[in-house]
Amino acid sequence: MSLLEVKHVSKRFGGLKAINDVSFLVKPGEVTFIVGPNGAGKTTLFNLITSVFHADSGSIHFEGRDISHLTPNGAAQIGIGRTFQLVKPLRNLTVLENVMLGAFLRTSSPSKAEKEATKVLAFLQMENVAHLPARGMGLPTLKRLEIARALATQPKLILLDEVVAGMPTSEAIKLALLLKRLPEWGISTIGGIEHVMQVVMRIADRVIVLDHGVLIAEGAPQDVVHRPEVIEAYLGSKYKEIAL
């Protein structure tokens, strides 16, 4: 059975079709990456899955249940965690407290939440900044904090929006290797990435390519990057023939 099922979903903002009849499946324990140029609709798709927006047509099912008309906090409650492309830390709280907030979804006890948060911070190798306020952190740390907060909610599916954008490649690879271990925790991943292909090729089981809101290719990473329509989406038709 599939964990997440997106069926013929469309979303339009005024005259712009941000998502146009997109369908795909995510199996439990799978790492799926949605790639596409800037403005392809990756973030909109994430916002639809987490009910920040609601689709104009089509439906989204999670564990067989229709989640098309949930609330954002309802999506978190049923086990969909997410990170934000533009990091949204709770600046005046410490890193640990930020992560505890995620853990509070599954427990009301502060000491249990702290224990869970410490565990997640250890996994992401962030113990050394646990007691510092989030406002002083650099971007790589804040990106990790986004992941830590989402992981602390003990999700079944985690949506990582541009999680390595703006990072040095060495940092991105280190993080990708950690993310590769998420299926061990029983967590499926959907990542959204514009162009850091080293990360995608390294950890994705499956890649979905979006362009102007349309799903143009789907398959194993090595396979997908050689397809003409994908190259055209990234480089334009002029370079398609050279690249092939």
Binding site: T50, V52, T71, P72, N73, G74, A76, Q77, G81, R82, F84, K88, P89, L90, R91, N92, L93, E97, M100, L101, G102, F104, L105, S108, S109, P110, A113, Q125, M126, N128, V129, H131, L132, G136, M137, G138, P140, T141, R144, R149, A150, A152, T153, T169, S170, E171, I173, K174, L177, Q198, R202
Partner: protein, 333 residues
């Protein structure tokens, strides 16, 4: 830091219980009652405006409802203390209705909406002479057998202690974390499953209950109230200013703010006569400009600078494992 704040406040409030044993004039005790009354109101406001970051400028609504609740319920023959409880209940119900509507808005629009509701209540109270007595006013029963100002003073100290203990408990609970998360970034709070609408409403209900109780105490001390006395904008802004001056979102900020502001107001009134409001205004402007985090907030963040700084400014990469190293080499090629 939180423990120190709680300890300082506990000692201060305990000592405050013995103040009436000193030979003080009724006038002085009345001023001190006002100090603690506004400390309690500020602490109540702090749950919504401080921790949850929702700038309410309409807390006079709950204050006035509590005051009029006591007056009107006892007018129809209900005993004074039962009327206080009914008044508090009414304040909570009005908070539920006001919150349900106004929390749909964010930022300044929320603040404007709360002002509007409080003003509507004031105008209703002014224009329903058959019920509220309108501008002529209505009599309020005395809550304590002896018309002693000491009893009011003690009840003020107790209300402050209660509000402070409740704040301390909330601050360390999951509910408190939820409120702070909503203040810092509501979208983040939603993304980890926080029901922001419900948390904000709960904070407002608790806040309104304490504020209504404060309103009833205040009304009973004056024995007679008119709408412009218990429902004006002045009360709303004074509550908010007390909390912000002391430090919104800090545990004892509103208590400190009330002590400073109410004492300063009284001293200036005696020294500068008519010019006291000018001085008062300048004081507030100076604090807002130079201590935007309030008195306690500023002290806390200054003290935090002295704490030992960690070795690494941000998550320094740990030692690379053999696997990582080989992957990196492969990519560099």
């Amino acid at each position: 830091m939180r423990k120190w704040q709680a300890l300082i406040a506990a000692v201060f409030l305990f000592a405050a219980l013995f103040v009436p044993l000193l030979a003080l004039t009724d006038y002085t005790l009345q001023i001190l009652f006002r100090v603690f009354l506004f400390a309690a109101l500020g602490l109540a406001w702090n749950l919504v405006g401080g921790y949850a970051g929702q700038l309410s400028l309409g807390h006079a609504a709950y204050f006035g409802v509590g005051a009029y609740g006591l007056a009107l319920f006892s007018k129809v023959g209900i005993s004074p203390w039962a009327s206080v409880l009914l008044g508090v209940g009414l304040a909570v119900i009005s908070a539920a209705m006001i919150g349900k509507v106004s929390f749909r808005l964010r930022g300044p629009y929320f603040a404007l909406c709360t002002i509007a509701f409080a003003e509507v209540l004031r105008l209703v109270a002014k224009n329903l002479p058959n019920v509220t007595g309108g501008d002529v006013g209505v009599q309020v029963p005395l809550l304590f057998p002896h018309s002693s100002i000491r009893c009011f003073y003690w009840s003020g100290v107790l209300l402050t202690s209660f509000a402070l203990a409740l704040s301390a408990w909330i601050e360390r609970s999951r509910f408190g974390y939820y409120l702070m998360a909503i203040r810092e970034d509501q979208d983040t709070a939603l993304s980890v499953g926080v029901n922001a609408a419900r948390s904000k409403l709960w904070a407002l209900l608790i806040s309104a209950a304490i504020t209504g109780l404060g309103g009833a105490l205040y009304a009973s001390m004056f024995l007679f109230i008119v709408p412009d006395q218990v429902l004006p904008m002045d009360i709303s802004t004074e509550i908010a200013i007390v909390a912000m001056l002391g430090g919104a979102g800090t545990l004892i900020g509103p208590l400190v703010g009330s002590v400073v502001l109410e004492c300063a107001a009284e001293i200036f009134k005696n020294i500068f006569k008519e010019a006291h409001l000018l001085i008062y205004g300048v004081l507030i402007v100076v604090v807002v400009l130079f201590m935007p985090e309030g008195i306690v907030g500023t002290i806390v963040s200054k003290l935090a600078l002295f704490k030992k700084t960690p070795s690494a400014p941000f998550a320094a990469p740990g030692r690379a494992t053999a696997e990582e190293e080989s992957q990196r080499v492969a990519i560099d090629k």
